[in-house]
């Protein structure tokens, strides 16, 4: 049974709930940033947020943070960079979970990417730092940072095969990982005050990539499989700029960005230079992961891309058709307001039903078109399967059937190897495996 089809277990449910809350928290954080951006260009919104911010609830504090931060927004380009970075990380997290919903390496990576989407977004971090944290907010922050940090470290250590490095005996690996875990938790808990963003960034931007680069370097040396080496090499080079920037930054500036000379005073002073140095470097990691998954066909990414393309085209076609229909209806029947057709709820319902009904056939047509034009092997596979079904009518020799079946499966599914199991009464007969270059 495929991993994605096995029933949900308790751990899966726990992950889903936890991950959902985690993403929700992140969206609140990113939303606050956007709210502050909007308030910086709208005096009315700014005033409304201040009024809301006089209340006592969690949402009131969010409103006050956004209103306060609106006076010190980064430039438009920086805001775009922040949210582009967050979107790329969130998008890749979604892709990973879609591809491998039950795979713990993919889950770790998705958790890490969601965390990075928040940590490296200076606009929203600047908003968060506007007010001192309540104990509950501190707990939420520390938990999120610990989760994100650990997830990133572990994901980079386990990617792509889920096997931990170094390949020592468990008795040696477990203490090593436990030490790293306690170190990360300790560092995350220690983060407080205005120095938090800088320290956080050094933790994420230097320590995490350093651990990841070391793990991938180990894989390059120890893995004999050429593909595995290539994947590790790709990720290693993507991690290296972050490590390099981190070391250069520390040499040039020491820990000054992470050391608050005015400790105990709540003075939001985001370390802009540090962010702008590390953010682009850190953006390479999800991009390299994505490139690696795409390049080495990890985790059946073609299926996802194919479906996304098909659905996007089908939706666009129908949407365009619907818009064209409205325009034509307007031209024929006058303005929308004056048109009895458009005003009629029944007409709207029937039209919508028509377009909904048309979606599936249209999607199938687009799927066939895409396969024929861009995914020739799949199209050919369909033809091959149909031909094989016809051939079976004339073949009676079992060995011949097996050979033909192997050939068809190899052609259609392009597997690494094929193993056929036959159930026999006296003894099972095993055929294969046969390599597929």
């Amino acid at each position: 049974m495929a991993d994605s089809e096995r029933p949900l277990r308790g751990a899966d449910l726990a992950f889903l709930i936890g991950f959902g809350l985690y993403v929700l928290g992140l969206l609140v954080v990113l939303g606050q940033g956007l709210l502050a951006v909007a308030a910086s260009s709208s005096a009315d919104l700014h005033e409304s947020l201040h009024v809301q911010g006089l209340g006592s609830g969690i949402l009131d504090r969010a409103a006050l943070r956004a209103a306060d931060a609106s006076h010190s927004m980064p430039s438009g380009l920086q805001i775009v960079a922040d949210y582009l970075f967050s979107a790329v990380n969130l998008g890749l997290a979604a892709v990973l979970l879609k591809l491998r919903p039950r795979d713990w390496t993919a889950r770790l990576l998705a958790t890490a990417l969601v965390g990075a989407a928040g940590v490296f977004n200076l606009t929203s971090q600047g908003v968060l730092e506007q007010l001192p944290y309540t104990p509950l907010e501190t707990l939420a922050q520390v938990t999120a940072h610990v989760l994100a940090g650990l997830a990133y470290v572990y994901a980079l250590l386990l990617f792509p095969d889920g096997r931990p490095v170094p390949r020592w005996r468990p008795a040696a690996v477990i203490p090593l990982y436990l030490t790293a875990t306690f170190g990360a938790v300790f560092l995350s808990i220690r983060l407080e005050g205005p120095a938090r963003p800088a320290t956080l960034l050094l933790f994420f931007g230097l320590l995490v990539p350093a651990a990841g680069a070391a793990a991938q370097a180990y894989r390059i040396v120890k893995t004999e499989d050429a593909t595995g080496q290539a994947q590790a090499r790709l990720l290693f080079w993507a991690l290296l700029p972050s490590v390099g920037f981190g070391i250069v930054f520390l040499v040039l500036h020491g820990l000054s960005p992470a050391t608050n000379v005015l400790a105990g005073r709540h003075i939001p002073e985001p370390p802009v230079a540090l962010y702008r140095t590390f953010q682009p470097a850190f953006a390479l990691i999800p991009l390299a992961l994505f490139a690696g998954i795409l390049r080495y066909r990890l985790w059946d990414i073609e299926r996802l891309l194919n479906r996304t393309t098909v659905y996007a085209i089908a939706t666009a076609l129908l949407g365009g058709l619907y818009a064209a229909f409205i325009v034509v209806a307007q031209l024929l029947l006058g303005t929308v307001a004056a048109s009895p057709l458009i005003d009629s709820k029944a007409a709207v319902a029937i039209t919508t039903l028509l377009f909904v009904t048309a979606f599936r056939p249209l999607r199938d047509q687009v799927q066939r078109f895409i396969d024929r034009r861009f995914n020739r092997s799949r199209y050919d596979a369909q033809v091959t399967m149909e031909r094989f079904a016809e051939d079976l009518r004339d073949v009676v020799d079992p060995n011949d059937i097996v050979e033909r079946l192997e050939g068809v499966l190899t052609e259609v599914f392009e597997p690494r190897h094929v193993t056929l199991w036959f159930r026999e009464v006296e003894a099972p007969h095993v055929r294969g495996p046969s390599s597929n270059p």
Binding site: G20, P101, Y133
Partner: protein, 415 residues
């Protein structure tokens, strides 16, 4: 559809329902809670206000009034009771009539009536029948002088206050029913992080009527009115109260905005006199409060060149400061004590004979070598303080006022 997908959808549905319930729980019941700001730190420039916002509220019996304080460096209390009502019935009308008139032009009998009523309840500052004696730096507030009746929570159902500022026997306040003689929050938190809150619970049995609230630190001019109305009469919603608060805030912030912008352009007018230069705090006659900013935020100087600040309000100029600590601290036994380190000169800065004066004070602070903690000590004049300092080493130096946490600046010294 796979079982996995069904389960995921189920989880999402349950999660959504829980979220809706949570949001409902977070926002429900706000009509029974009124929030009053005590002091306020503005978002564009650091401020402190000797005000409650709004200064009048309407509530029902059984409601809760949340007094939320921004920690600007200044302590406040929420004090009520029949003793307060009696005192403010005299001082409030007098303050409204004479508050804008210079003290030396107010008839003595008016001052006498005012201070007699004011001093019938304990007040930390302001209950001064005689002018304050000028005191040297570091002695502006003595730990022994902190009235513990004020600084700690205190409930006197009936009878008289403890003598000599001793702490009250009853510090568990309970719901306020309007019949208490003295009901005092004590200093509302002394926190630099998180929330400084005092929750005033109103008893279900409190009679409709008007109740006075005042701050025992600053005196009866720092007051608010709480109107308890019968439960069948409507009161403003939480949002309406917030709108009123914001309106009052905007009103008092506007004069500060004007002086802030003017000072950033290099000029500040105070007491009819125009000043230019580097400013350490600003004030305005129209506002009971302080603008706690160093202006300009960054000063550039050369080694040995004198740098002069004009100080308005009680501030210190302090370099290489320790981690912020509030001017008061609560000891383990509950006693509230002043942190004298805030007030004292440090690192070789000279002691000033008259650190709290009505006349201008001019101080030459000497030279700082750029290393170790250095502080002018807290200096205050009703007029201004002119403080000069030189730097013997190039560098970028962050500095701060030891009283007001958001008040920070930078001096860049070049060789």
């Amino acid at each position: 559809m796979s079982r996995g997908a069904t389960a995921i959808r189920r989880v999402l549905r349950v999660g959504g329902a829980v979220l809706v319930l949570l949001i409902g729980a977070c926002t429900a019941g706000s009509a029974e809670t009124v929030t009053v700001r005590v002091d306020y730190d503005h978002d564009e420039f650091a401020t402190q206000f000797i005000r409650y916002f709004p200064d009048s509220i309407q509530v029902h019996a059984g409601d809760t009034v949340i007094f939320r304080q921004d920690w600007t460096g200044e302590a406040h209390t929420v004090t009520l009771g029949t003793m307060v009502d009696e005192a403010l019935s005299v001082t409030k009308p007098l303050f409204e009539e004479w508050g804008e008139v210079p003290e030396d032009q107010i008839p003595p009998e008016v001052l006498d009536a005012y201070f007699t009523a004011e001093c019938s309840v304990p007040v930390l500052f302001g209950c001064e029948e005689e002018p304050t004696e000028q005191e040297p730096t570091g002695e502006a507030v003595d730990s022994d002088e902190i009235n513990q009746t004020i600084a700690q929570p205190c409930l006197i159902e009936q009878g008289s206050l403890p003598e000599d500022g001793a702490p009250c026997a009853t510090q568990d306040l309970g719901p306020f029913d309007g019949t208490e003689a003295y009901y005092n929050s004590g200093f509302i938190g002394l926190e630099t992080e998180g929330e400084n809150i005092f929750e005033l619970e109103l008893s279900d049995s409190i009679e409709p009527g008007e109740y006075n609230i005042f701050c025992s630190v600053h005196g009866s001019f720092h007051n608010a009115t709480m109107q308890v109305v019968p439960s069948d009469q409507p009161i403003p919603s939480a949002n309406e109260v917030n709108l009123q608060t914001r309106e009052e805030l905007n009103e008092v912030v506007e004069p500060f905005r004007q002086v802030y912008e003017s000072a950033n352009e290099g000029q500040f007018v105070f007491g009819g006199e125009a000043f230019t230069g580097n400013f350490s705090g600003l004030m305005d006659e129209r506002v009971e409060g302080l603008l706690n900013e160093f202006i300009p935020e960054t000063i550039e100087a050369e080694v040995g060149e004198p740098v002069t600040w004009l100080m308005f309000g009680p501030h210190s100029i302090s370099f290489d400061v320790p981690e912020y600590f509030p001017i008061y601290e609560q000891l383990e036994d509950g006693t509230v004590s002043a942190n004298e380190e805030v007030y004292l000169p440090a690192g070789g800065a000279p002691e000033v004979e008259e650190a709290d004066s009505v006349d201008p004070i001019v101080v030459d602070g000497g030279t700082w070598d750029g290393t170790d903690f250095w502080s002018s000590g807290v200096l205050y004049s009703d007029a201004y303080v002119e403080y000069t300092l030189r730097f013997s080493a190039p560098g970028t130096y962050r500095y701060a006022c030891l009283i007001h946490p958001p008040m920070v600046g930078t001096v860049t010294v070049t060789g």
